[in-house]
Symmetry: C2
């Protein structure tokens, strides 16, 4: 596997761009288009929020056959909680894009991100679509990545190359997300393009597996948005033979896809609203993965844990409390906890003031890890999280103004 | 029912006090004692956190017979995650109190609140117990209320009188809590004394019912502590006849107990760490209470909702998102939402910019309500919450230092 520069246009046959159509203030990019020269196998994963935004309802429908060719995305307005008008707007957004591209509208995925509850400014979208179609180009991936940003402070892209079935295959993607981040697709969008050859059905399995180890293992604020999705197009233009279930090729492809998903997921955490710390929480030696994940998430989303990270306070008691209310049966007297290499809890009680002092040095770093050893089994789970700072409050108190 | 001034010593036969024994800095009160002249029926409710602090394990055991006479509480140290030493310390704390009072140690409930994970400073507790026993007095309730405070900014007490079975009965209580507040006894302590005559078993039922409508309906930060408890002593000194299951007297008593529990619960929310808003969230016309409560809690604990309250931004889309991820099946197109009297969402979509403007005036108030009408049934639930401000972060980032 070779990590390469680039993103959504790294794989053969993918072009993209982003333009400004006036939804966001100050001429910032707010309309992105991704296009594959060939009709592709396509798979999507969608928010678990019961109130699914209209564009997602449409895209889910369009992906049912497992094919796709283009993705149109606006930022600045989520087109969520907009009722039947919202659905009509999403339909029109997809249809106009298809018309300009000269393809069938069922091949277009539609996504929106931004403020909930306001109607999509369709005149702006209508005038933007010809611009974004005309702007499509091989080196337009960065602009596409910029055009899907909301409170993001940097654009997010990742790409990798590797041999799949004897041929070089590329996987590249872009993502957005910095708040409302919690597992199961919480306000984040990720679009991935690959020139691998794979069926829509197998691509979906592969994407789910990769997401479960990446996008579903991050938490910033415990919120699950109405608009999140991860989408992957595979156009087969590498010329590699088709990837089959259970094959060596699938393993090779899976590792490429997982790399890109995890790289994008970590970028989202790093860009967590107001985050000053990037923290890797591993729960080790659990009875099973589910228990390990539950505990890691309980700790990773605890406001008391996150404010202690911000305050650089090695307040491990807050870990214990969060483990205790995770819902998992844990023997308190077996728990060991480490900040990087520093053992701060031994068999459920503190290891003393010297360890406290060493741990507080670890906490001064911008990145560190917390390892919770349950001594109960052999499974583990890793979750990525941030601290909770004044800036999280500032950003979210004034989001619409 | 008559609301009266006072707290834990309002009912006949109760005396209390608080002293400083040096656990907290600056000679602040940190050791409280509540005492009933007569052995009382006693009932307690305890944290749902699996890691239960040692004093709670002891108190649970002592309450098994349904009787009690004294409650000893320290603040500044939670005696949690302290292992077997923590249990021995709790035992000693109870035994020393019993000895000074000249009662059996099984009649003493023990509670601790404060930092988790540090051993209880037993020398300070040992020297404090004779002081606190000597200080017991009828007008010492306020000092007891002060001595159980941690990050609380004001002491919390409430009392009420009413006729139960033809006799005047008093119920009074004190509470502490301002952070780590979430249903099912999340870092809060409440102690209630009454001169009603009731069995320990029925008192427990009555206390659970009252708590389910008060302490279990508040949320500040979604955390559930290792140390929380609600305790009630009923000494029968009103001379009223014994309250039996299914009787009119039980209803009369229940309303008194519920008043005190709710008054204390609301004070805890008002004192929410860094809170600048006090928000009542009612979910109306739900299929059942459980659904209504789930949704109200999902909205009430959402960081995005709470930061929008702080920013005085009528961002109702965040309500919709939180309703959507509550786990309850809701018809999005039926949802109406009101800020006080202002209808801001009608059948799932916004009612426009004029309503937005009126709602933003409501949000400027220190107290307001949010009503979510599901139009799905006849049940409702009310939850009390706060905004999330810079000060929440400040308080919790620097708690130990």
């Amino acid at each position: 596997m070779k990590i390469v520069r680039g993103g959504i246009t790294s794989a053969k046959g993918f072009i993209a761009t982003g333009v400004s159509c006036g939804i966001k203030k100050d001429s910032r990019l707010d309309l992105a288009l991704i296009f594959s020269e060939k009709v592709s196998a396509a798979a999507g994963l969608f928010t678990t929020n019961r109130f699914i935004a209209p564009p997602l309802i449409l895209t889910k429908k369009n992906l049912k056959k497992g094919t796709g060719q283009a993705v149109i995305v606006n930022s600045g307005n989520a087109n969520a909680a907009t009722g039947s008008r919202g659905y009509e707007d999403a339909l029109e957004m997809g249809a106009l894009t298809a018309k300009e591209l000269g393809i069938d509208s069922s091949l277009v995925s539609v996504a929106s991100t931004g403020v909930i509850g306001e109607p999509l400014p369709m005149e702006k979208i209508r005038s933007g679509i010809p611009l974004v179609v005309n702007g499509l180009r091989k080196n337009g991936g960065k602009d596409a990545a910029r055009a899907i940003m909301t409170t993001d402070t940097f654009f997010k892209e990742a790409a990798v190359k590797g041999i799949v079935g004897g041929r070089e295959v590329s996987v590249g993607g872009i993502a957005k997300g910095s708040g409302m981040i919690h597992p199961n697709m919480a306000t984040m969008l990720a679009f991935i393009g690959t020139d691998a050859t794979i069926s829509g059905g197998l691509l979906k399995k592969s994407l789910r597996k990769a997401s479960d180890l990446s996008f579903n293992m991050i938490t910033v604020d415990g919120e699950t948005s109405t608009n999140d999705m991860v989408l992957c197009l595979a156009n087969g233009m590498s010329g590699a033979r088709e990837i089959r279930e259970g094959s060596r090729e699938l393993k090779e492809f899976q590792s490429l896809l997982e790399y890109v998903c995890l790289a994008l997921a970590k970028m989202i955490v790093r860009d967590g609203e107001g985050a000053t710390k990037f923290v890797t929480i591993t729960v080790d030696n659990a009875r099973n993965f589910k228990d390990a994940k539950k505990i890691a998430m309980s700790v990773g989303r605890s406001l008391l844990v996150k404010t202690a990270f911000f305050g650089e306070d090695a307040n491990w008691g807050r870990f214990m409390a969060a483990i205790g209310y995770s819902g998992v049966k844990v023997d308190e007297g077996e728990v060991d906890i480490y900040y990087d290499g520093v053992k701060i809890v031994n068999s459920g009680t503190g290891t003393g003031s010297k360890a406290d002092l060493m741990a507080s040095k670890v906490l001064k770093k911008k990145e560190f890890s917390v390892r919770i050893d349950l001594k109960a089994g052999k499974e583990k789970a890793t979750v990525w999280t941030t601290d909770l700072s004044y800036d999280y409050v500032r950003i979210n108190a004034s989001y619409r103004s």
